[in-house]
């Protein structure tokens, strides 16, 4: 049985040097992260050969970022775990990584990013890292500053591991309150192991982006069998 790491310790404590090393050397883990990132890109529906500027929230050691780079996108990642970021830096990932807490919101110039991805990170926002922190406030801060730094109509795909239906509601409510539209996409809903939750968001409406996306793919949940066997955070 998996212990949920976000219930054991705050992210910056949990992903210490040792955990960061373990995490980046586990090839199955890397493979899953890559698959999820590919799926997130599918949901962003960026046309082929159209490199963009993307934000990677909870970028960790840059495994997801490397997939973004393979598609020629430029990316900026943020994470609260310095140990994970050091691994990213030592591997000379193509994107830039920033040490920051997503629950504090971010100081990016308004209207810059073309889209955002987040792989297995959103659930950390709901567990207060310190006694003085309020998860509702952190979620609000996160979504309001995210909305501000995206271009109009930008799409986001956030894969996460919700601990309960209430948590999903808490996250989506906060996103909608801050101007996003979209909803939850559940891939392989009938497979206990392969089931994956994606929060799909759009920052307002842009006809151009809408048309581009239609030409690529409409986000639809995946169903049926999969060869993805295990589930991990």
């Amino acid at each position: 049985m998996n212990h949920r790491p976000e219930q054991l310790a705050p992210a910056d404590v949990f992903y210490n040097e040792e955990e960061a090393k373990k995490y980046t050397m586990n090839s199955r883990m890397i493979e899953i992260q890559q698959e999820i990132t590919e799926r997130a890109l599918e949901i962003l529906a960026i046309p082929k050969h159209s490199p963009r500027l993307l934000l990677d929230i909870g970028c960790g050691s840059g495994i997801s970022g490397q997939v973004l780079s393979e598609y020629d996108h430029c990316w900026v990642g943020l994470d609260i775990s310095k140990a994970m970021l050091n691994v990213a830096a030592d591997r000379d990932v193509d994107g830039d990584v920033i040490h920051a807490d997503m629950g504090h919101g971010f100081g990016f110039r308004p209207g810059t990013f073309d889209g955002a991805v987040s792989i297995s990170a959103l659930q950390w926002l709901c567990s207060a890292e310190m006694k003085c922190q309020n998860p509702y406030k952190r979620l609000n801060k996160f979504f309001s500053s995210l909305y501000a730094c995206l271009i109009k109509g930008a799409r986001c795909a956030f894969q996460f591991y919700p601990s309960s239906p209430e948590q999903v509601e808490m996250i989506t409510n906060s996103a909608m309150k801050n101007g996003f539209t979209g909803g939850l996409i559940v891939d392989y809903p009938n497979s206990q192991k392969a089931k994956k939750y994606y929060l799909f968001l759009m920052a307002g409406y842009s006809e151009e982006i809408m048309n581009e996306a239609r030409q690529v793919i409409m986000p639809r949940a995946k169903t049926g069998d999969t060869d993805s066997e295990d589930d991990s955070d």
């Binding site: 430029c74 040490h99 807490d101 100081g107």
Partner: protein
């Protein structure tokens, strides 16, 4: 940290909402990533980034870095189509990495350190 990132970062400290961009950049150590390690030159990507850059902020920052780089006063539509210009911009924005240094908010003077190429934008709880 690359200059493209510096060009979109603002001070995020509580109450600091005006004149908080661009952060004054001091680069004490920097390196050019070699071709295998850097993002590949891609004119379409650079053209996309050109749409986003605050040109005056970039010019101002580069002029303080003593890198011997002189940027044109304006980013014209012709320049964005110019191969040699885009190559130079690729080196400046994407390949050159600031390894150690700091950024200072022009408004509240909050200092953000850059170590091992990673800017520390983490705020204290009372700064949020």
């Amino acid at each position: 940290m690359k200059l493209i990132t510096h060009n979109i970062l603002m001070c995020n400290k509580k109450g600091c909402t005006t004149n908080n961009f661009p952060l004054k950049l001091v680069a004490t150590n920097w390196k050019d990533l070699d071709t295998e390690n850097a993002q590949q030159y891609n004119p379409a990507l650079l053209q996309r980034l050109c749409e986003k850059i605050e040109w005056n902020a970039l010019r101002q920052t580069v002029s303080t870095l003593n890198w011997g780089v002189n940027l044109p006063e304006q980013l014209s539509a012709e320049l964005v189509q110019d191969e040699a210009f885009l190559q130079d911009l690729h080196l400046l924005l994407v390949k050159r990495q600031i390894v150690e240094g700091q950024m200072v908010c022009p408004n509240c003077e909050r200092v953000y350190e850059i170590k091992n190429g990673i800017p520390n934008m983490l705020l204290r709880e009372d700064e949020v």
